[in-house]
Each structure stands twice: as C-alpha cells, then as structure tokens.
C-alpha cells in the first residue's frame, strides 16, 4: 500500500532552483493536491517522485522503500498527463491494454482489468476509436483508464484538466475524485487551479518559488490561512494595511504562527489609512502597540449597507459584477483602498454604481497578519 515520503528534496536546473528542500509525507489512501502558480516547482516534485527526473539532493520513499535510482518503469505508479499523451497510433483499447501487455500479465487477467477500467470511465463503448477521433474530455478519460490499468495503487495526476474546456473540467474533476476514492488509491494531483484543488483533495500543498508555503485541508486553507500568500491564492481576498493603536486587556496568547484570530485573546483596534479605525476581535498577544498589520477579509464576509453601521467604513461603489447567484461590488473606501464585497442576490436591495455606502467589517470574520517586511504586493504576487 503506497505511503509516500519526500525527504529533503532539492532540484536545480543550472542556476534555477525548482525545488528547495521539500519535505512531505502522504498517507496511504490520501488525495493530496500540490497547488501553486506556474513555475513554483509543483510539476518538478511529481516528476521526481515518479522517477522521470532525479533529484539533485534528497530521497523519495514509497512504502518506506527508498526509490532513488530506481527507473520509472519499476516504480509501479499510474501517471496522468496534462497533454494526455494517449499513444496516437493505438486504439482506445490498445492504449488501456498497454500496461497489462508490457507487464506480461496473463492474457485473461489483462483483458479483464482493461475492460473494467474502461467501463469505469464509461469509455468501453469507444474502444475501437483512435485518439484523434475523441474529444478532449474523452481522451483524458481514456488517459485515466490507462493509468488505472497499471494496477498501481499510487496515482499521479499532472495538471490533468488544464488542457480542457472550462465545463468539461468541472465534470471530470468529480469523476477523478470518485474513482480515486472508490478504488482506495493514493493520489497526488498537481494543478494551478485553486478551485480544482479544493474540490478534489483531502489536503493541499501550496507551493511558491520551489518551496512549500502551507499544507492543510482545503477548509483550513480557505478559512484560516496561516499565510498572506495562501489567503490570496486560495480564493480571492481583500487586504488592508494598518497598525495597532489600541490593545485589549485580555491575556496574551501564546500564538506565534498564524492569524491572530486563532488566539483566544481580547479585541484590539487597528488604525488604517486616513485615520479610519477597525475593531479586530481576538488579536493575539504577539502584537504590540504600533505594530504594522495586514487585515484580510474574503468578499463574502464583508457586507454593504446604505446606513451607518458599527465597524464600517464609508465608500463609493465603482463597479458591480453579476456572478450568477450573487452580486459582487467593488467599493472604493474612504481610505482609498478598493475592496470587493459579495452580496447574495436574495438581498433584494440592489446597489448602484457611484452610490455611497458603508462597508461593514464584521470583527470576527477578519484575519490579521503582521505586515510583511518585503511589502504586501511582493508577498501577494501571483507571478
């Protein structure tokens, strides 16, 4: 049963460091997604794990066995490719049947496994087709069946949906998750699409510039990111810079990492641009008076009102965007910050562009981070 461990993996290409001392442990039966912007080293990681590339330093362990130096074809894994890479000269059936043949399985067993795998992705009806006769989504389904036929319990998905249309992508990602769970596979999925990552995985490994930024469940990364980059990359967010001007009297919490809202202390007040003030609930004790902070709020956690409300900042609506079941407003605050606010359409009050409104910051929904030394923009940058 596959259990994966990457120990201190580094990979350099000339001067470029694609992976920098990566440590990662993946449990058996877990669905882990490696997420990050282009060039963050996520593909490097799975290529090293599958033996396509050798690490410059460090070792991979599959089931506690060191696999460094073992060629790909002896590592026993299923690999699904971004560009699908179905063998163009073979039919759907021959593609799926490839692993049983090269592994020299008993003919009947091979046929049975192939049939089952193709049935599982509902592609048995296309078994005589050549890849060029299939649509993108169908091709990738065959790609999945082919990987399943290898009989391996470890599945590597290298941006499996990136080449497909948006809609097809949605349908296939459910399909993939279902297959992995039904078959009890361990899966490592690489993607740059945060929504895809959240919807498929048990755990997300967020990478940036060859390093792991944060590893956690999708819910935790979305609701309680420990890092500003995470907050921005996994779902959209508003960020407002300020500094602490009043501290509550509560106990100083021993919380040195992560957002202050996790610390069970009292509230404090931050001053943001143009002397506006925001009340923050549960700021931890690591902030002292005058400390620079970044306040983060997701668009759905802000709300708008025409009336004056507590902990609200005045602003003017500069844009409104229809999002289907809800509306998104872009509001220019009196502090000159622009924030995005999402309002369920069910709130029948529809606001108009140029209307003056109050944006309400609910203290409990705000996350607070120390202001980064290299500047907020640099920390949030997606490229």
């Amino acid at each position: 049963m596959p259990e994966i461990e990457l120990r201190n993996i580094s990979k350099r290409f000339g001067k470029v460091v694609a992976a920098d001392q990566i440590n990662l442990h993946i449990k058996e039966g877990e669905y882990v997604t490696v997420l990050g912007p282009s060039g963050c080293g996520k593909t490097t990681l799975v290529k090293i794990l599958s033996g396509i590339w050798e690490p410059t330093k460090g070792d991979c362990f599959i089931d506690g066995k060191k696999v460094t130096g073992i060629p790909t074809y002896e590592r026993d894994l299923g690999y699904i490719f971004q560009n699908i890479a179905l063998f163009p000269h073979m039919t759907v059936w021959q593609n799926a049947n490839y692993a049983p043949i090269v592994k020299d399985w008993d003919h009947e067993k091979g046929e049975k496994v192939t049939r089952e795998s193709l049935e599982l992705v509902n592609m048995l009806r296309r078994k005589g087709f050549k890849p060029f006769e299939l649509s993108g989504g169908e091709k990738q389904k065959v790609g999945i069946a082919r990987a399943l036929c290898s009989g391996s319990k470890l599945l590597i998905l290298d941006e499996p949906l990136s080449a497909l249309d948006a809609r097809v992508r949605l349908e296939l990602r459910y399909e993939i998750k279902r297959l992995v769970k039904e078959r009890g596979l361990t899966a490592i999925h690489v993607t740059h699409d945060q929504e895809e990552a959240m919807s498929t995985s048990d755990r997300i490994v967020l990478m940036r510039k060859g390093r792991i930024v944060e590893v956690d469940t999708p819910q935790n990364l979305y609701n309680k990111p420990k890092n500003l980059f995470t907050a921005n990359f996994i779902g959209e967010a508003n960020f407002i810079e300020g500094s602490i001007t009043e501290c509550g009297t509560g106990e100083v919490a021993e919380c040195r990492t992560g957002p202050l809202s996790e610390c069970g202390a009292d509230e404090c007040i931050a001053e943001i641009r143009h002397k506006h003030r925001l009340v923050l609930k549960n700021p931890g004790g690591i902030f002292k008076m005058g400390d620079g902070v970044v306040i983060m709020a997701r668009p759905e956690n802000l709300s708008i009102s025409v009336n004056e409300k507590e902990n609200a900042i005045k602003g003017r609506i500069i844009d409104k965007i229809f999002m289907g079941s809800y509306m998104r407003y872009r509001v220019k605050l009196a502090t000159q910050d622009t924030v995005q606010v999402e309002v369920p359409e069910a709130d029948d009050k529809i606001f108009n562009i140029d209307e003056s409104v109050n944006v309400i910051f609910r203290p409990k929904k705000l996350l607070v981070y120390p202001r980064p030394r290299q500047g907020l923009k640099e920390v949030l940058s997606l490229e």
Partner: protein, 663 residues
C-alpha cells in the same frame, strides 16, 4: 507619405503581390522543374535512337591484330564497338569502350616455376563485365584469346617497377556489351549500394539521433558539430580521402589502412560518410517532435526503455524515417565526384569508362566525357529520374504500411537489455562508428600532405577553376534567395491550398533526382533551345538541384512561426510588405542564411551535375577529380584542402552568426 511608404504600398497591392508570385512560379517551372524532367520527353521524340542504340545487340566483331609498340599512347581500333585501346604511360593495356568490354579470352600468368591462371583457357567467363588490366607483379602476362595464339607482354617486374617495352603483337577479339546491359548493371550497382548504405545509416544513425535528442551530456554541442563535418567537405575530396584511408591504392601503397580493394565495399564506405549526417539529422528532427510524454507515459505504465522504443517511438517515427531514407538514398544514388575519385584511386591505370564497377552517375559522367552518346545518356538519366521518383512513392507507402509487432512482448529480455551495460555499449558503438567510419576517413586527406610526395601544383588552373566555382555558387545563391523565399512563403502561407500542395511536392523533386541525371536533362533542355554557353548551363544545373534547399529551410522556419503574429500585425495597420519586413523576415532570416550557405557549399562541391551538363566545365571538384584520375595526388590533395578550408570557414561563420543571434 514618405517615398519608402509609397513603394511599400505599391508593393503591397494585391496585383503587385500576385504578379510577383506569378513570376516566381514561372521561374520555378522554367528554370527548375521543366528542365529537370525534360529528359522524359526524349523517350517520345527520340524513341528510334534509343531502340537502335540501346536495345539492339551490336554485331559480333571480327578478331583484330593490334600491334602495341613502345611509346604508343593511343591506337585506333576500327570495329564498331571498341573505341580505342589506350596505353597510359606504359602502365598497362586498357580497353576503352562505351563502358566496359565484355571479352571472351583467357588470362594466365606464367612465372618461372608455376602457371597461375586467372581465367582458365577455354572457360566461359561468368557473365559480367571484365576489364582485363595487364596484371601486376609478373614477368609474363599472357592474354589468350580462346583458342588462339599467345603473346607475351611484359609489364612490371617483381619489385613493381614498370618496364619500358614489351614484344610483339597482341591478338584480341573484343565485342562490346549491349549498352542496355551496361546501363542495367550500373543501375543495379547504384540501387544495391544505395540500399545497403541507407540500411547501415539507419542502424548506426538511430542510436546517435537518440543520443543527441534524448540524452544530456557534456560535449553534446561539439558532437552536434562533428556530425555535420562531412557535409562541409566536397564529395570529391571525401572520395579521395576515404579511398586513401580504407583502400589498397596501387599508386601510393601504404598510405592508409589498405584494407580493401573491392570497389563495391569502398563505395559503400564512402557513401555512408556523406549520407549519415542526413539520416541522423532527419531522425533527430522527428525524434525532437515526438512528444517525450508518450515515452514517459509508457514508462510509467511499466515499459522498460527498449519496449518503449519498439512499441511507442518507432511507430510514431515513420514520417521522419521516410525523410531520412529518401535523403540518404537519393544522396547515394546521386553522388558522382567522390565515387569517380575513389574508383580512380583503386584502379589508377583504368580510364573512367573502364572501371570494374560503374554506378549510374559515373556511367553518365564517362559517356558525357567521351562525347556522342546522347541516346545512352538520355536513357540512363530517364531511368534514374523515373526510378527515384517511383522510389519516393514506394518508400512512403511501404514504411507507412509496415507494422511493428506490438502484441509480442518480451518483457524479460527487453527489461534485461534496457539496463546496465547494454545501453552503454550501444552508445559507445554509435560513437565508435562515427569516429571510425565518418570522421577519420573524412579528414585523412590532411595526413597525405605530410606523408605524400610533394609535386608541383598548377595554381593558375586551380584558381581559375576556383573563380569559376565561386561565380557559379554566388549567382545561384542569389537567385535562390530571390525566388526561393517567395516560393516558400507561397507554399506555407498561400491561400490556395491546392497550389501550395502541388508546389510543395514539385519543389522536392530536384532533391530526389540524381544530379547527374538532372544535368543530362538540363543540358538537353537548353541545347534544344540552342543555348550552349557553359557558364549558363552550369549555373542553371546548380540552380536546379540547390533550389529546394533554400525553399525547404525557409518553409520549415515559416511553419514554426505562429501566423497570429502576422495577422495581428495586419490588424494593427501593417501592409503585407511591412509585415514581411518587420515580422516575418526577422524570424526567418537565419533560415534564409542557412539555406543559402547550404546551397553555396553544395554548389561548390558538386561534380555530377557539372560533368553531365557540359562536357568540360571547369569547377574545382571537376578539377580535383581530373587530377585524381591522372594520378596527380599531391596537387589534388592540396586543392581539396584549400576547398575544404574555404567551405569550412563559410560554415563556421554561419554558425557563429546564428548562435550569436539565438542569444
């Protein structure tokens, strides 16, 4: 509006562009395609000549008494079939005829204590062409017409010195073979050699291409350059150099390894040298295009590298294989200069009509040189053109239909062979092959300058021919750029897909047709228009076979260039001419340069077409081959080295410029 803009706008007009394309197509048809295929018309207009001169068996000749006397250099021989008997510098007796002479006579050697029989008296000689040089290393050579008088001819003493005189008359009854048999034999030799060469190229080239594309190692850059080296050397020089390295060369014994005196083996070795780079390049190009993910995918499914190569890569390989095979095959089929040089090295006492083995192009060269064999020339050229075009189709069909067995898998052995020493051994063998078969023979000529006996060089003639060669190469390069670039644009970007496809097929034709045949055809075409000026004929011949080079290079680059750049430029307000200048040209200029240099060097090194189009053209390779034929090796070697140096410098300059631009 400035003047430049105004010119641009005029040039960009639909009418102007169309007219220009019209001229280009016309030029292409009149200067390249029609002359290349003109020879085919000979079958219709002069069928009678072919009938009477080629298919008819000549009458039995009557025995003739030939009296050879010391000091005679040439004796006329008045039968219908035998042209002359030449004595070169008292080296031996040579029987020249249209090709070789088919003789029924006996040859034995009578030394003091034994009789060594080469062909027994009264034996029927096996069918084939026998040139009977007077054999070396004997005091008495006797040539016996079956059942007739024997006469002693003393040729060379035991230590190999040539004797000045011999006694008495020599009786011969000689009848020439049917020209058709000669042509047929030459064709067979040509195709067998080309096939063997192509197969060896493929077997040795595949691991090398693999190495170049799929592996990363230090020094790969240099290996890349080394593979192309033989292309920089004119084939005449290669022929000289290769023969020097491998063959038993009677005039300068011990210069090289002296391993073979078989013309067949030597010519194969020679043809490998200049065709191998084409095979490696074509295979590498297609390997480069095959998405490596197919191979990786197969590996993740548990297939060891050897299985992957057999079941995934090779089947996807076919298109590249076709290109490689056709390039190698047609290069081998086409080569003249090097082959003549090598044959001359093996049997220096024979004239070019009398080589024990002839290929199609050498036969054409010899006949053209002798003069007056128009039906024979036309027929040989016709056959070469038709067979090579047919070949193109056949190779494509056969390779595309050929199926590799997938279901048969030998996981055990293949797994074993994929690991450990075997792949390393394969790489090592590929390297050894390249060094031993390609590089050393190519450059062996340089050793000759130090070991050979210096002889005076006629530099005047040399520089004159050099000037002629450069003039030709320069002119054709210019014409190639002027007409080749627009034609490439038309092929890749043309709106009329039909026209583009037809042009695309036509443009490859001169690449496949052996250059000697092309020369014959061109000569006939222009002669039929009463144009016989040597310079013009040579230029038009060289233009025809180099034209595909520029077009192919530029078309390749254009296919790589995303058309959205040009389209975007158009929508931003740029006229077609401006788009060409600012968007297209910067992206293809290095391909134009590469194509131009290829055309230039190919023209510099070409022998076959030159010899076939005009009887006595004076280009450097022809000059070199001439020197080798008469045994002036030292001047030939010097001329080769100067030519190699110049070609090399040109190529290096190109590489430097392209590399710099890539950065």
């Amino acid at each position: 509006m400035s003047l430049a803009k105004r010119i641009e706008s005029v040039l960009s007009r639909k009418g102007t562009v169309k007219a220009w394309y019209g001229i280009v197509i016309l030029f292409f048809l009149v200067m390249v395609i029609i002359p290349t295929l003109f020879v085919l018309s000979y079958a219709i207009t002069d069928w009678n000549n072919i009938q009477s001169d080629i298919f008819t068996t000549p009458p039995e000749p009557t025995p003739q008494l030939i009296i050879l006397e010391s000091g005679n250099t040439k004796l006329a021989f008045h039968t219908y079939d035998i042209i002359d008997i030449t004595i070169y510098n008292q080296l031996g007796v040579v029987i020249d005829s249209p090709g070789t002479v088919r003789l029924n006579y006996t040859v034995f050697e009578n030394t003091d204590d034994s009789v060594k029989t080469y062909f027994s008296k009264g034996d029927e000689l096996p069918s084939g062409n026998y040139n009977i040089p007077i054999l070396a290393n004997s005091t008495h050579n006797e040539i016996n017409h079956v059942g007739t008088v024997t006469q002693n001819v003393t040729m060379r003493d035991a230590s190999g010195n040539y004797l000045d005189s011999w006694e008495g008359p020599l009786y011969l009854r000689a009848g020439s073979a049917r020209p058709m048999d000669l042509i047929w034999d030459a064709m067979k030799v040509s195709f067998v050699i080309a096939t063997i060469v192509t197969i060896i190229d493929f077997i040795a080239g595949l691991p090398m291409a693999w190495l170049m594309v799929r592996k990363n190692f230090r020094g790969k850059k240099y290996l890349d350059t080394l593979i192309d080296m033989p292309l920089a050397i004119p084939t005449a020089a290669l022929g000289f150099s290769t023969a020097l390295f491998w063959a038993v060369t009677p005039k300068i014994p011990g210069a090289g390894l002296g391993l073979t005196s078989s013309p067949f083996i030597l010519i194969i070795l020679l043809h490998i040298v200049f065709s191998y780079p084409y095979m490696v390049r074509s295979l590498a190009a297609i390997l480069h295009e095959i998405d490596i993910n197919y191979e990786v995918a197969a590996q993740t499914l548990g297939a060891p590298p050897l299985t992957v190569a057999r079941t995934i890569t090779l089947p996807l390989f076919r298109a590249g294989l076709v290109t490689g095979i056709i390039l190698c095959f047609s290069r081998s089929l086409s080569e003249t200069g090097g082959t003549v040089a090598a044959l001359a090295m093996l049997t220096p006492w024979l004239s070019d009509m009398a080589y024990p083995m002839q290929t199609g192009p050498t036969l054409i060269g010899a006949w053209k040189h002798a003069g007056g064999f128009e039906p024979q020339l036309a027929f040989t050229a016709m056959l070469l053109v038709l067979i090579s075009l047919a070949l193109l189709v056949v190779v494509k069909i056969v390779i595309m239909k050929f199926k590799l067995p997938l279901r048969k898998v030998m996981p055990g052995p293949e797994r074993l062979l994929s690991k450990g020493a075997v792949p390393k051994l394969k790489d090592a063998l590929a390297m050894i092959f390249m060094v031993l078969v390609l590089l050393i023979p190519s450059f062996f000529i340089f050793s000759f300058v130090f070991t050979g006996e210096p002889a005076p060089v006629d530099w005047g003639t040399f520089w004159l021919s050099m000037g002629f060669s450069f003039l030709v190469a320069g002119v054709i390069t210019l014409l190639n750029i002027l007409f080749g670039v627009p034609l490439a644009i038309l092929i890749v970007r043309g709106k009329n897909k039909m026209l583009s496809n037809i042009l695309d097929v036509l443009v490859n034709m001169p690449l496949i047709v052996p250059t000697a045949a092309l020369g014959v055809s061109l000569g006939m075409f222009w002669n039929s228009m009463s144009i016989e000026m040597a310079l013009f004929l040579v230029i038009s011949a060289h233009l025809a076979f180099t034209f595909p080079l520029v077009v192919r290079n530029v078309a390749g680059a254009l296919e790589e260039l995303d058309p959205t750049y040009e389209e975007t430029a158009r929508t931003l307000g740029a006229k077609p001419m401006f788009v060409f200048k600012k968007i297209m040209y910067p992206s293809i200029k290095f391909s134009i340069l590469a194509g131009a240099i290829m055309a230039f060097t190919r023209s510099l090194g070409e022998t076959g077409a030159t010899l076939a189009v005009v009887k006595d053209a004076n280009t450097v390779p022809v000059y070199i081959v001439g020197l080798v034929k008469v045994g002036s090796y030292y001047p030939a070697a010097l001329a080769c080295i100067v030519l190699i140096a110049i070609t090399f410098i040109t190529m290096m300059v190109m590489r430097y410029i392209t590399r710099k631009a890539e950065r």
